[in-house]
Amino acid sequence: TQLLEQSPQFLSIQEGENLTVYCNSSSVFSSLQWYRQEPGEGPVLLVTVVTGGEVKKLKRLTFQFGDARKDSSLHITAAQPGDTGLYLCAGRRTSGTYKYIFGTGTRLKVLA
C-alpha cells in the first residue's frame, strides 16, 4: 500500500505569514489532489494536478506537482484565519485503479 506522508503534521502561524505543506511518497501517481476539511465536514476539493512539474494557483494558494509525480506541495501566501483547517493530499496510482489514497493530513491553524 503506497503511503502519502504529509509534513508538517501540525502548523500554527500568525495571520500574514507564508507557509508550505508537503506531500511525499515513494510511489508515482497519475494525478494528485488537495482537499481542505473543516471540523464536522467532508473534505472539499481545492485542486487537481496531473502533469509532472505542474504549478496551479488558486488565489493565495500555489500547488506544485513534483517532476517525478511522487510529491506535491501547497504554498499559502499571507495566511488568513479563514485558511484554518485540515489539508489533505490524495493520490491516484498510475494504473488499475480509480480510487484516491489520502495522505496523513496537515492541521493548520492561523491566528489573528
Binding site: S30, S31, Q33, Y35, G40, E41, G42, P43, V44, L45, T48, V50, L88, A90, R92, T97, Y98, K99, Y100, I101, F102, G103, T104, G105
Partner: protein, 115 residues
C-alpha cells in the same frame, strides 16, 4: 451547488448490531465511494461502486460490510455486526467521471459510535 447528502449525521449503536448509513449522491454522478476517518487518523478508502457493482474495495471492507444502490438515488453502506473499532466518520463521495480532472464531492459524513 449540487451536494452529496448523508444521513444520519450521527448514529450510536451497540456492538454487534447492524447499521445502515445512507447517502444520496449528486444526481448525474456515476461513480460512488465510501471512505472512513477514525478520529485523529487519516481518511481511508473502503469501496468504490459503478454500474451497480463494486469496482474496488480495500482490506478494511470485509464480509461485514456491504453496499447497495437500492433505488437509483440512494447509496447505502451496511455494517452487519458492528465492532468497537468501526467507530469513525463515514464519508460518501461521488464523481461524474473517473478522469483525473474530476475530484470527489464528499458528503458531510455520518459519525458512527459503537458502544
Amino acid at each position: 451547488e449540487p451536494e452529496v447528502t448523508q444521513t444520519p449525521s450521527h448514529q450510536v449503536t451497540q456492538m454487534g448490531q447492524e447499521v445502515i448509513l445512507r447517502c444520496v449522491p449528486i444526481s448525474n454522478h456515476l461513480y460512488f465511494y465510501w471512505y472512513r476517518q477514525i478520529l485523529g487518523q487519516k481518511v481511508e478508502f473502503l469501496v468504490s461502486f459503478y454500474n451497480n457493482e463494486i469496482s474496488e474495495k480495500s482490506e478494511i471492507f470485509d464480509d461485514q460490510f456491504s453496499v447497495e444502490r437500492p433505488d437509483g438515488s440512494n447509496f447505502t453502506l451496511k455494517i452487519r455486526s458492528t465492532k468497537l473499532e468501526d467507530s469513525a466518520m463515514y464519508f460518501c463521495a461521488s464523481t461524474k467521471e473517473t478522469g483525473p480532472n474530476y475530484g470527489y464531492t464528499f458528503g458531510s459524513g455520518t459519525r458512527l459510535t459503537v458502544v
